[in-house]
Every structure is written in structure tokens, then in C-alpha cells.
Symmetry: C2
Subunit: 233 residues, 2 copies
């Protein structure tokens, strides 16, 4: 028996604007497993709503009486709980190597993309989140959003360098997981969907092999990511 699944999913002022890269990882993993989920619009400051997860960030997946957090841990939970559904990792080695891809995305790609998209976020946030977001993010980056916005061109150039190994791999194979998408793709694509939903910035040129992969990911799982409402157009 599959317990009903609920996902606390970061939202903007508009409930339908879901922009968290880490939540997108989980939504794609759920779609990959063919598991229906009820998403709950959640804002940064609604800490009490997810207190049972023992921390204050989303994604938080509620599966029956289990409260799960951290996108990687959720992916492992889904793989181990639903082994007969399409695999997120393929095999033990696939899982282990996907962890590196996931970690690279979290520690290298996300900060590089954040420099470009974070200044666009406040405009899309619920009013109650704006001060919290500005205070925590400016502290994390060590500078104001205005200073970050002024570094846009340099940040875009820097991202181009960060994307080099991704670009090389996607010039050789359709997806990071091979011929069809799986968790390595979810882990990395989250950042591209983040930028797409919340920001007018284009992370790559149109002829980049990464752009073609983003297009394939937008179409995957019945166009789940392509159908997402954007704060900007």
C-alpha cells in the first residue's frame, strides 16, 4: 500500500509559482516513480508547518506518518520504498555516482546560478517572506542584492565555466542518466527550472547542448516542468 504523499513545496506570492530547485528534484523523482503527490504551497517563514521534519527547509515529503527532508534523502527513500517502480539510479554504482552529480549541483551549480537569479526573487515572493529572504540571503552571499545584480555579466561568464563538464557530457548523451532521464538529471535540472520559473535570465545560449537537454527535461514526464507557472515571461 502506498501511503498518500504530500509535498511542502516552496511558493511565491502566487501559490502556483513553485521555484525551489530542491523541490523540483523531488517533484521529478516522484513523477519518475509514477507516484501521485499533493503539493502544498509553502513559504520560507512557515517554519511551524514543517516542524515535524525536524528542520526548516523544503522539500519536506510526508508519507503516512513519516516526515522526510533533504532532496537526496527523499530520493533514496523513494528508491528503497518503491523498488519495483522505474529506478532513479539503475543500480548501486549508479546511485553512488549520482550522489556526486547531485552534490556537484548543490555545491557548485546552485551557488553559481544563485548569483544570477536571486536578485529577481524578492519581486515574486509573498510579502511575509521578503525581509526573511533578503536578510538570510544577503548574509549568505556577503553582499546586497543590488551588488549581486551589478555583477550579472561576470556571474554569467563564471556560470559558463562551471557548466563545462555538464556541457561536454550532454554533447555525448541525451541525458545525464543515459538514454532517458533519471535522478542525475533531476538533481541538475532543478537549477535550470529554478531560473526558468523565477527569473528572466537565460543560463545558456540557444545552441548549447545544455539548452537542448533542458528542452528534453521540460518535455519529460508529460511536460511536468514545462507546465509550471512562471513568475516572469
Amino acid at each position: 500500500m502506498t501511503p498518500p504523499l504530500r509535498l511542502f513545496d516552496l511558493a511565491g506570492a502566487d501559490d502556483a509559482v513553485r521555484f525551489s530547485p530542491n523541490c523540483w528534484r523531488t517533484r521529478l523523482a516522484l513523477a519518475h516513480k509514477g507516484l501521485p503527490v499533493q503539493t502544498i504551497a509553502w513559504r520560507f517563514t512557515e517554519k511551524e508547518a514543517i516542524a515535524k521534519s525536524g528542520q526548516g527547509k523544503v522539500p519536506v515529503l510526508v508519507a503516512g506518518d513519516r516526515w522526510l527532508c533533504e532532496s537526496w534523502d527523499i530520493a533514496e527513500y523513494l528508491e528503497d520504498t518503491y523498488p519495483d517502480r522505474p529506478s532513479l539510479f539503475g543500480c548501486a554504482q549508479g546511485r553512488a555516482s549520482a550522489r556526486f552529480v547531485n552534490q556537484w549541483a548543490s555545491e557548485v551549480l546552485h551557488p553559481a546560478v544563485a548569483r544570477l537569479v536571486v536578485p529577481s526573487i524578492p519581486a515574486a515572493l509573498h510579502e511575509k517572506d521578503r525581509d526573511y529572504f533578503r536578510t538570510t540571503r544577503q548574509a549568505a552571499f556577503g553582499r546586497t542584492f543590488e551588488a549581486m545584480a551589478a555583477e550579472h555579466d561576470e556571474a554569467l561568464e563564471s556560470l559558463g565555466r562551471v557548466l563545462a563538464p555538464l556541457r561536454s557530457v550532454l554533447a555525448k548523451q541525451a541525458f545525464l542518466a543515459g538514454a532517458s532521464p533519471a535522478y542525475s538529471d533531476h538533481a541538475v535540472f532543478g537549477a535550470f527550472q529554478w531560473a526558468r520559473v523565477i527569473s528572466p535570465v537565460r543560463l545558456t545560449g540557444p545552441d548549447d547542448p545544455i539548452a537542448a537537454w533542458v528542452d528534453r527535461m521540460l518535455d519529460a514526464y508529460g511536460g511536468l516542468a514545462r507546465g509550471a507557472k512562471r513568475a516572469v515571461s
Copy 2:
């Protein structure tokens, strides 16, 4: 029938000093598959010896009448030619994600390590390789070895940042491929063995989870990497 395998393997002035990170990838992959190989000491300027491979770099693996080059392509050849021997990738998803790990090592890790170890290399080279090495590498890096050596501290700090996702993963699992080593490990460890054989530089602190993994890799395959002769001690 297994054709006899021969590997052109980069050597220093001392035949026994084998220091190429890409050749170490192939040697570990061959050991993983349990395939005996005859290595042939090769120097940068001996282009004619490997002309049949259609290019001028090692590793070059000769399998019967096939001449193979590029460490990744050799790994795929070994996996596909010897499917019944221990797998380098585990499954198709494992192979696809390992390609990203491999590409990250080639495009991000190798240049970061090169800044630290390249200035040590000329002293270990065969006399006939020295001019070639200095000319090609200084052109590639856009500065002299002396200028690179002067940037040592900054290069070490920069490497520390580059290693962040590797460090995080190896704090969670024994090997990049999971509970035991496979090609994701070979692909990354090559750079550490490069530094170990040819340079006095230590790439990490002793308490770094990466240092413990390097130790495990040195012991793997009957201590193949640990037994390698070092140009420095």
C-alpha cells in the same frame, strides 16, 4: 580469447616512474577487470610509437590489432569487451553518471591539480621531453612554470574549493562507486596518483575524508597504486 594487452604508459627519465593521471585511470580499470597488461614506458616526444592510434597522447591500449586511445573510450571498450568480468559501471545509468564524474575530473580537477604539480614535472622527465613539455604546457597555461610555482598557495586554496563536492560525497560513502571502487573512482583518483608520483605537494590535509579515500585507493587492487615508484619521496 583475450588478446594480449599492451599499454603505452607515460614515463619519466626513470622508466619506472609512471605519472600520467589518464594512464592511471586505464591501469586501474584493467586491474578492476583482472586483465593482465604489459605496460610500455613512453615519453611525450615518442609520437611515432603510437601513430597507429591516430593521435599523439597516452594512454594508448593495444588489443590485438586494435589501437585505442582516450581513457574514457578505453574504459567503455573494456566494459563492453569483458562484460562477464567485474563491472566498471554497474549498469547503463551507472555508466552515464560516471561519465559526468570522469568529465568533471578531466575538466575541473586536472587543471586545478596541474597548477600545483606541473612545476615539479620537468625535473623528473627524460631529457628529450623537457623542451617539449615546457613549451606546450606554458602555452596551455599562459604563463611560465616559475610564475605557476609562485602561485602555489593560491592554487592550493583554489583546489580546496574545487574538491568540495568530492569531499562531501566521500564523507558519506567509502568510494565514489559505493561500497567498493569502480570507474568513477579510477577517473578521479588518477589526479591524486599523478600528484603522489611526481610531486611533493599534498593535495589535502590528513584529516580530509578525501585523504582516507586516497588511502583506500592506494590499497585497492592488491596495492597497485601504492606500489608505484615515486619521483619524489
